[in-house]
């Protein structure tokens, strides 16, 4: 049964978390020298499976066979010793350590921490195309370089089997192409890859074989040369792909948000984070902001929300200058805000759902009057959100952290759409949300837009951006560098604009 | 550059004034009271922070009790001791006294002025029980006997001794905590020194300000103050700093200078044998005598005859000669002592 040709074999892997079965008897076979893709919707259990293979989590049941030998990983150290390396979905880098230190960490035994190690890093930097100096702090580097360091880390440890967990999520198309080129060269050198992505085109372009996982179980394997996107998607969700496309335009000519000459200096004295940003969002319009992550989207959104002070320029809401107003005053003036990181920025994890309904609304009716809170009103309104937005929860007294990500996001969107906002600022509203919830959130956004809501949308998901927006603006280096018509632009064209390659 | 350093050394020779002469008759210390039988008493003792074994005034009180046990027939089993805790609230002290009172102890001796309110409260509650309080005379009740001392008088004598012995005409004082009690030592010491040698330079410093009791427990900082004074030209330092005294003695040993101890005859303290040679003399405050005399007086029903204040005249304070380092100046010191007892010299308790 055991085949020597198999780089990795996972048999009957089961992993239970409190309340979730993340992996339920998963089987996976990866042959030497192949690029093996894993597909599945959010929360399907892909990352968990890979973390098990990488020794970061121990399976409750099942066996791992590497190069024909039964193994038992107690920690990543064991997996690394067995020639397995992993590039995580979220960067695993220490900002305050240098490039070299980040690479060396945990692998000091290989080449020491002196000259030999540096030489080896220099050598491998060329392989992954990293240009940064070794003694530079990682905090000074951009996303693409960080990704390269992550891969460098894996190579430095002499891994032959490399796991790439959603490596392309933060890259623009050109960077994706470069990454794929690297993957192919390395494949030629005999490396084996496990590759995870939600982007089916990418998966089909790079993989030799695809395994689909749904709700913790292996659904089946597919051949990328023959399978279509639609078939893959159906395997993943058991239904058709939802589409973010906006049907008819509801744009009016009433300006809701007007931003003039917005600028923001960098706190450490570097290049300005924002510079001369002008934009207008009309009632009933969705303005999408496209850009490579880290080009000022977060700063733009937070400046408009009043969370970053000392900005230049003006922000007008319905004609009133709110540049000097506090975040609370802006919220009271009718801005709703769905931040990009819900668990850190939108929710109080240890508090019950109804207390989370108060957050951001603690100053105005129906939740509060003259400094006093009306908890009964908060509870009633939370019930409404749970009902209307289909938040799956046994009640409104459970703590927010106990909900799944998608349900948390629905709660946040529901909250921010209550109190009749005139403007919604939504940053990555469906990031990390599963397909069903995604469709629900899109539907709510469209409904509010039809009712005259102005929406400023930031998203890294170009399909979502193109599908939902009435107007698209491209941000790069803290400046708006161009626009695009969502009706005609393709993700590839948009990606080109985002990298500035077109200008 | 000219720095004006060196202090008294620049003043050249230290001129000393001759001691006054007083007719011996008017300056004789009072004789000790006859021994009464204390076998029927149950004595309670409430210590201040530090308690028995602090090698300081609590220990002296304990010694008084022990002497009563040894000499007055008091039963050891009929004594009870309890100790205060640092920073405790007043009701803790009150409670301690009350528990002793409820336990049938009579008399009860409270050691330290921290017990003032407690004694006042409990003595009012138990008018038939006799109380004594050491270092405090603010409680005005018939059943409360204050046991207070003329610390300044004893300090005067060691100040005089320091002035007689110094070769730099500069001496130091190191107080543990800058409170009125310790200031009395300071004032008497300075008066004694300047009376003997009018040009003498007396440098005084405290380890911690009032209310910060760490000064009695910080030998490290005491060492630094003392070595600062020694480096600055002082060759004798009087340490009135509780447990911190050992820091002064250590500094004296390092600098090959002298120090003066406090409360008990520190030359004979078993803790201090390594540094005893630096201890020229000690200013003695006979809390033991006061406690012993008090128990004796209660047993003999002569409390009213106890002195209002323990001073040189009744041997309540004094100086020690163990080690023999001040033997040569004893006549002068005795002359000053006689002058104080006779009222010829009035020692002030404040500067």
């Amino acid at each position: 049964m055991t085949d020597e040709r198999h780089a990795v074999e996972l048999r009957g892997i089961t992993k239970r978390f409190p309340g979730v079965v993340a992996n339920d008897g998963v089987d996976l076979t990866v042959t030497h020298g192949e690029v093996h893709a894993l597909c599945g919707e959010n929360g399907a259990g892909k990352s968990t499976l890979m973390k098990i293979l990488y020794g970061m989590q121990t399976p409750d049941e099942g066996t791992i066979v590497v190069d024909g030998a039964d193994t038992h990983f107690r920690s990543p150290a064991d997996a690394i010793a067995a020639g397995i390396g992993m590039v995580h979905q979220h960067f695993m880098l220490a900002d305050n350590l240098t490039v070299a230190e980040n690479v060396l960490l945990g692998a000091e035994r290989l080449h020491g921490i002196g000259r030999a190690a540096r030489a080896r890093i220099t050598e491998l930097s060329a392989t992954v195309g990293l240009a940064a100096r070794q003694d530079v702090l990682v905090e000074h580097l951009g996303v693409a370089d960080r990704q390269r360091i992550e891969i460098l880390k894996v190579l430095y440890r002499g891994a032959r089997t490399v796991i790439l967990d959603e490596p392309t999520a933060v890259l623009v198309p050109q960077e994706v192409d470069e990454l794929f080129a690297t993957v192919r060269t390395m494949q030629g050198d005999g490396y084996t890859f496990l590759f995870i992505s939600h982007k089916l085109d990418e998966v089909r372009a790079v993989a030799d074989r695809i395994t689909v996982i749904r709700r913790g179980r292996t659904v089946g394997t597919a051949d990328p040369r023959t399978v279509t996107n639609r078939e893959l998607a159906e395997m993943m969700v058991g239904s058709e792909l939802p589409s973010p496309e906006t049907r008819e335009s509801t744009v009016t000519d009433r300006q809701v948000l007007r931003v003039e000459g917005l600028g923001l200096a960098s706190p450490d004295g570097g290049r300005d984070l924002l510079d001369g940003v002008d934009l207008v969002v009309h009632a009933g319009e969705v303005l999408g902001i496209a850009g490579v992550e880290g080009n000022g989207q977060t700063e733009l959104v937070e400046t408009v929300m009043g969370m970053r002070r000392h900005a230049r320029g003006r922000v007008l809401l319905n004609g009133t200058d709110i540049s000097a107003a506090s975040t609370m005053a802006r919220r009271e003036a009718g801005i709703g805000y769905v931040p990009e990181d819900r668990s850190r920025h939108a929710l109080l994890g240890e508090q019950p759902l109804w207390a989370n309904r108060i957050l951001g609304f603690q100053s105005r009716p129906p939740i509060a009057r003259r400094g006093l809170l009306d908890t009964a009103a908060a509870r009633t309104d939370t019930e409404r959100i749970v009902r209307d937005f289909d938040v799956r929860t046994p009640g409104i007294d459970v703590m927010a952290a106990a909900l799944s990500g998608g349900n948390q996001q629905k709660l946040v969107v529901g909250r921010e759409l209550s109190g009749d906002p005139v403007l919604l600022i939504a940053a990555h509203p469906t990031r990390g949300v599963d397909v069903g919830a995604q469709a629900g959130i899109w539907a709510e956004l469209r409904r509010a837009r039809a009712a005259g809501l102005a929406v400023l949308l930031v998203s890294a998901d170009l399909d979502e951006l193109i599908g939902l927006s009435d107007t698209l603006a491209v941000i790069s280096g803290g400046r708006l560098v161009g626009t695009a018509d969502p009706a005609t632009v393709t993700p590839e064209e948009l990606g080109t604009k985002m990298t500035g390659a077109a200008t | 550059r000219d720095t004006g350093g060196g202090g008294g050394a620049q003043a050249g020779e230290c001129e000393r004034v001759a001691p006054p002469s007083v007719p011996a008759a008017s300056a004789r210390p009072a004789p000790e009271a006859p021994k009464a039988d204390a076998s029927g008493l149950k004595v309670g003792l409430a210590y201040d922070i530090g308690g028995r074994g602090d090698a300081s005034f609590n220990d002296a009180a304990a010694a008084g009790l022990d002497r009563a046990v040894a000499e007055l027939g008091l039963q050891k089993a009929n004594t009870r001791e309890a100790t205060a805790q640092a920073g405790e609230s007043e009701d803790a002290g009150t409670n301690r006294l009350r528990q002793l009172a409820q336990g049938g102890f009579n008399p009860i001796v409270a050691v330290g002025f921290n017990y003032a309110t407690g004694v006042k409260t409990v003595a009012t509650e138990f008018p038939n029980i006799q109380f004594a309080i050491v270092d405090d005379d603010t409680v005005d009740l018939p059943n409360v006997k204050p046991l207070v001392f003329a610390e300044e008088q004893g300090s005067f004598l060691v100040g005089a001794a320091a002035a007689l012995k110094t070769s730099t005409c500069k001496v130091g004082f190191i107080g543990g905590v800058d409170n009125p009690l310790i200031q009395k030592f300071d004032a008497g010491y300075e008066q004694g020194a300047t009376t003997v040698a009018p040009q003498i330079d007396v440098e005084s410093a405290y380890i911690s300000p009032a209310g910060d009791f760490t000064g009695f427990n910080d030998a490290t900082r005491a060492t630094e103050i003392a070595s600062g004074q020694y480096d600055g030209g002082a060759d004798i330092a009087f340490a009135a700093a509780g447990q911190s005294n050992q820091g002064v003695f250590a500094a004296a040993q390092t600098a090959q200078k002298k120090a003066v101890g406090v409360d008990s005859d520190q030359y004979n303290s078993p803790q201090l044998t390594q540094v005893r040679d630096t201890i020229m003399t000690s200013m003695i405050k006979r809390v033991d005598v006061a406690v012993y005399e008090y128990i004796n007086a209660v047993a003999g029903d002569t409390v009213a005859q106890l002195p209002a204040r323990f001073d040189l005249a009744n041997n309540g304070v004094g100086y020690s000669t163990s080690g023999g380092q001040v033997d040569d100046i004893v006549p002068q010191l005795e002359a000053y002592k006689a002058a104080i007892i006779a009222g010829q010299i009035d020692v002030k308790s404040t500067k």
């Binding site: - | 550059r1 410093a205 490290t220």
Partner: protein
Amino acid sequence: MTAVLDRARTLPGWARSALIAAALVAVLSVTVTLTGQTQLTSGGTASAAVRLGLPILLAGLGGLWAERAGIINIGLEGMMVLGTWGAAWAGYQWGPWAAMLGGLVFGALGGLLHAVATVTFNVNHIVSGVAITLLGTGLTKYLATLVFTPVSQNPRQSPRLEGFTEFSIPGVAEGLAALEAQQRVFVSDLAGLLSGLVTGLTPILVIGIALVPVSYLVLWRTAFGLRLRSAGESPVAAESLGVNVVLHKYVAVTISGALAGLGGAALVLNPGQLGYLENQVGGRGYIGLAAMIFGNWRPAGLLVGSALFGYVDGLQLRAGGEAVHALLYGATLVAVVVAVLWAIRRMWTAAAVALVAGLLVYAVYWSVDTVPSEFASYAPQLVTLIVLAAASQRLRPPARLGEPYRRGEGR
């Protein structure tokens, strides 16, 4: 002038530090000359600074080890208290080297307890630290009552223990003393300050100071140190690379406790103390922590912090309010120099602030003759507070300091 400044900015770190140190000595020298307070730069003050700074330095190093691994250690105080007991207990029986070991072991036990609470049970670090200080103090008092009373007749004091014999570096010490005695501007001041470093030395002092470079080398130049720091910067990344984060945190916090315990031993073995005294630690653990923050979580920085603390404390103890008063004069000079430097760099607001601060300090200096002893006693704390207020925004604590960490639960 600007060119000189630019060059100064490009100087290597050690040269800049030397330059700043020289400037400070110059300021002190001017102050001594103008105020006549020779104690400001005397060898005795320098020795006092070294002795008083040592326990703080060791506590600070303890803080450094724990906090570099991401664990806030406000329990240093309690660990120092445990260390004083351990040192006295071992020391009175087997001598000063045993005392050091005793302090080390008892402090380490306190550290281990902190590690169990914060790493294994994820208790808030400050909460655990407070509890450990409470427990350490109580336990120590109990043990002292139990063990020391029979031998010392005193529950609050240990028997006297034998200390280390002091030594001076032959040749250098005498030379510096001679130089200092000449009272020449600058040269004698420098000699006085340096002589504190070569006279009255004890093994524990030498070890304590040596632990600064040793800590630097271990933490920044070894694989173990890299792993330990990674646990404070990004435990999840470290874990993903096979580093046993929990183990490193445990080791770091235990070492931290051991160093604090050594600080307790230093206190017990301090010339003049030579024994356990109840409450003798007196907040030095907290001050060590402050010195470490002052030093921006770096060994050299915390050395400067504890030296500053020891210096101000030694000065006020030896020379009292007048010397602290003279320090105000020195502070005015520093403020003016800083204002001029900033003005040259065209940082006008900063320069103005420094100038105004300088003027304020000068006004205080001018209006009183001496600093009341009540405030002079706490000059070290005041200085720490002011320096932190001025410099806190340049500080860079470890990125994940104080955050809970659970194995396998990172994102």
